[in-house]
Amino acid sequence: MPRTLELLRVSATTAPAPGIRTLPTITKLVDTSTCIGCKACEVACQEWNDLPPETTVQMGTYQTLPDLTPNYWNLIKFNEHEDEDGLHWLMRKDQCMHCADPGCLAACPAPGAIVQYTNGIVDFQQDQCIGCGYCMTGCPFNVPKFSPKTKRVYKCTMCVDRVSVGLQPACVKACPTSCLQFGTKEQMLQVANTRVEQLKANGFMQAAVYDPPGVGGTSVVTVLTYGDKPELYGLPRDPTIPAMVRLWKGPLKWLGNLAMIGGLLGVFAHYMRFGRKGRDGEPAPGNGAGER
């Protein structure tokens, strides 16, 4: 069950979220320049969350699976990039980004199925999930995955159960190179910026921090060696909640509601003003000349 006092946002509710407890923001830092592709984070995620194993697929790379699955919430993507300096192996941790402005939550029609805590964690409550998949349309990162078995959607929880009792997420705990670090958003941005300066000093002038403002920033911040080309890592350049999802949940919803209420009031007004048509050709009662 969600921790009520820490709820910042709750999907599909007409009432304000009940959270009154302010928590320090939490952020996971992913430094792609120090990732060695060992996949300890993947194993730790599977173990801590006790997720059933997935059958791997031979992709011709070291990547475990083509994509995240309902049972696999943390996947190191092995992207190969070739330029004049030769072949670069660009590894990136694919998982829920825990957006400050989550598209999944905006799109969700099931009350309480997606919540956001005051520390920034976006969490799915599968017991409230109705399996419509709208979160998959709302997410700009292609993260939530539908389970045909339970007909519900799953993704990284940021180990909310560990974080809530003061522990690091399992993947961070397992990382052997400190490519993964965990702390407040402020701390992690500081570490990330320092690392970017180091990379620039080493000649990687395009190095940058990936914390996309289009979704209000994310609680998973990534240091990219080729920060000018996030696409090389499979990251969208400027992710936002899709415009059509915003249209649907914004103006279209209000116009639609007004039109439907207007339609009902309209036919009611018509009935009061003009009433029934005459039966079998007779003029209707109350439809006399004096009315007009």
Binding site: A12, T13, T14, A107, P109, A110, P111, Q128, C129, I130, G131, C132, G133, Y134, M136, T137, N142, K145, F146, P148, K151, P242, A243, M244, V245, L247, W248, L252, K253, G256, N257, A259, M260, G263, L264, V267, H270, Y271, F274, G275, R276, K277, G278, R279, D280, G281, A284, N287, R292
Partner: protein, 218 residues
């Protein structure tokens, strides 16, 4: 002809399919509204819960689509716009104000009914296609995600358009036109009813326009 004679307006198969369409549409409307706005989510709870509503909504949608196809095949020739419909459309104001003496005669269906029919046919196609995308959203590749976005908006807009038609259709059939609901359930109307609401159709099926020329204005 004997006054008060009953005429078959809708065959049993027509009434049955219309009822299937009506009931399935009502279910789709109620569960769809529950997913549309949190303020109406309680409707899904009343109908067995959000999970069940989401599970059944697409299947009932297929049922509605099937009924719609049947109605399309059965009624489309009666639903073509005719010369008389142009005159009827010009007199829409009188029809709305129940000044039926000023309304030009209609065939089996008047122009308003035809509009609803085509709204439901085209709206139904849009709802079915977008609904299939929403149903199998997990199978839409990420590269084609624009389909997901488009389907979300198309489904909502098409639903709103048909809801507008549905409100007017149900209101007209149950509250405004006496005998309308009876006709679509039991299938029969009186000759006077037919002469008043659909004189050209009456003349057509009785095979002699002269006998009903009192109300038929050609």
């Amino acid at each position: 002809m004997t006054p008060g004679r009953l005429i078959v307006r809708y065959a049993f198969s027509e009434r049955l399919v219309h009822a299937v369409a009506a009931l399935s549409y009502l279910y789709l409307l109620l569960t769809g509204l529950a997913f549309w706005t949190p303020a109406l989510y309680w409707v899904a709870v009343v109908l067995g819960g959000g999970y069940l509503s989401r599970l059944l909504h697409p299947w009932v949608g297929l049922l509605f689509a099937g009924a719609l196809v049947w109605m399309f095949v059965a009624w489309r020739s009666d639903m073509r716009t005719t010369m008389e419909d142009r005159a009827w459309r010009k007199a829409l104001r009188h029809y709305i104000r129940n000044e039926d003496a000023e309304v030009p005669p209609a065939w089996r269906f008047n122009y308003g009914q035809k509009l609803l029919f085509w709204l439901m046919v085209f709206g139904g196609v849009a709802l079915l296609l977008s609904g299939l995308v929403l149903w199998f959203v997990a199978s839409i590749p990420w590269e084609l995600r624009v389909l997901r976005y488009t389907a979300t908006v198309v489904h909502a807009v098409a639903a709103l358009a048909t809801i507008g038609g549905f409100i007017i259709h149900v209101y007209m059939g149950t509250a405004v036109v006496p005998g309308g609901l009876d006709a679509v359930i039991h299938g029969e109307v009186t000759e006077e009813w037919a002469r008043h609401h659909h004189p050209l159709w009456l003349a057509q099926i009785t095979g002699d326009s002269s006998k009903s020329s009192g109300s038929v204005r050609l």
